[in-house]
């Protein structure tokens, strides 16, 4: 049996996979970021720890179905946590799939959403520094998202300005669960800095906002949390549009990461319908809401909805825009997508190339 039969090449012309992965989750430990933390904060962490906006001290909001929410084959042989070891990540992901570039999103520890706002600022700084040593320096394929202490808009803008222009950083990283809806003015300094400095803002699902995971309260099951991202991201995107963020910052590009996208057309239809009658309430919107989505919003693929009929998925992708869809694996997480098998076989080679690499190359300005 030949390898072509087992693993179809995605780019027949060059015989390379040509993949840019827009959602990789490397794992740092507190020890990894310590070299860039002042002794005051090292002592503070040892004495008081971090405090997120929720009612429990540690652990996940919902148990994750697999340890560390990771593929069971992603635990490195050295005994560390999944994606904590660059060499193993190279073997299992970057070299294995011949990935040209990988965009790194960091979930913890980052200081994002930490209640002590000075600590949040210090941790974000320390992470961003450590990420050059640990990831983007040793492997030039890797590009980090800039961790910002998002509840403090001014400090976030400073951190963005400090790092913008360095080739190590691809975008600004927010989480979907912040203390207020993403369109609120407290976050505008982030959008201003990012759009002025030419960096997209990636909003990755999850985070600890302190709010219930649904707008009807706390759900009972992990499967509800997983499905809930599409409703909470509808709320945050609606907020970005209706508050006028895209009017105020016309160069802003937002990437919704890991939120799916089959809900986007429905949200667009609904908002447009209401806007025709309620436009006077939000006169700062100059265009139909769906036009802001189409012009400013990118989505990553994993974990995209799996429609029963493949052509339905293609129709949805068509609405979202073939230039707005970015491939992502979500490595090392258990819902990982393999670039060879993620898309319907009926996707044309040209569109496949757009989604797998060209859109990301353009958006992030990768060579």
């Amino acid at each position: 049996m030949t390898s072509e039969v087992l693993h179809p090449s995605l780019d027949p012309a060059s015989n390379r996979l040509c993949v840019i992965d827009c959602d990789i989750h490397p794992k740092d430990s507190i020890d990894d970021i310590k070299p860039y933390l002042a002794q005051r904060w090292i002592d503070y962490l040892a004495t008081y720890g971090t405090r997120a906006r929720h009612g429990f001290q540690s652990g996940f909001m919902y148990p994750k179905s697999q340890p560390q929410a990771a593929r069971r084959d992603s635990w490195p042989p050295d005994g560390g946590l999944p994606a904590s070891n660059l060499k193993f990540m190279q073997d299992q992901l970057l070299d294995f799939y011949d990935i040209e570039y990988g965009v790194l999103n960091f979930l913890s520890p980052t200081g994002q959403g930490v209640q002590n706002s000075d600590l949040s600022v210090a941790m974000a700084y320390a992470c961003n520094e450590a990420h050059r040593d640990r990831w983007t320096g040793p492997d030039k394929r890797l590009k980090a998202s800039i961790v910002v202490p998002y509840e403090d808009g001014a400090a976030s803008a400073k951190e963005i300005a400090r790092l913008a222009g360095m080739p190590d950083y691809a975008q600004v990283q927010l989480l979907s669960r912040m203390s207020e809806l993403a369109g609120k003015k407290r976050y505008w300094p982030i959008y201003e800095a990012a759009s002025e400095l030419g960096l997209p803002v990636g909003i990755h699902v999850f985070g600890y906002s302190g709010w219930a995971s649904t707008n009807g309260g706390w759900a009972s099951f992990y499967i509800e949390e997983m499905a809930e991202h599409c409703t909470s991201c509808q709320a945050l995107l609606t907020s970005l549009i209706v508050e006028g963020v895209f009017e105020q910052f016309p160069k802003l590009k937002v990437v919704l990461i890991e939120a799916g996208f089959a809900w986007l057309p429905a949200l667009g239809y609904r908002l447009d319908k209401h806007w025709k009658k309620l436009r006077g309430e939000v006169p700062h919107l100059k265009r139909a809401p769906s036009e802001y989505i189409r012009d400013h919003v990118y989505v990553t693929t994993q974990p995209m909805e799996e429609t029963e009929k493949p052509e339905h998925l293609l129709q949805i992708m068509d609405w979202v825009g073939w230039d707005k869809i970015l491939f992502a694996t979500d490595y090392p997480h258990w819902d990982f997508d393999d670039p060879r098998y993620a898309f319907p076989t009926t996707l044309t080679p040209e569109r496949r190339r757009q989604v797998l690499s060209e859109n990301a190359r353009k958006l992030y300005g990768f060579a």
């Binding site: 049996m1 593929r71 069971r72 084959d73 258990w334 990982f336 393999d338």
Partner: protein, 137 residues
Amino acid sequence: MARRVVARAGEIEPGARKLVEVAGRAIVLFNIGGEFFALANRCPHKNGELCKGRITGLVSSPEPGVYDYTHQGEVIRCPWHGWEFHIRTGKSWCDPRTMNARAYDVKVEKGAMLVEGPYVAETFPVRVEDEYLVIEV
């Protein structure tokens, strides 16, 4: 199609599994309470390696609040997205019509039989007094 000797029966304990390579194919052998089964190592969903999954049972429920736990030790969950496959048949629980792991028939044969028959054992010697797992590929 050739009948191939793929392992010595005694090397896979009940509840254990073993990954073997047979004629270029990766196949996982399972021992469920002394019975042997074989599945292709490729998950039919998106190609996760089944041998790295967790062996578990099947939880089902006739109504909310009531559950049964059956098929203990007979279900393998893919290490990636967690699809559940019945080790005895390769059938998936959620979509048994279309999503099934390739299953192979496993026969346990005495070494004495194999020494004479038209069998292929590529990587290890066959001894008359042992038992061996044979599959047709």
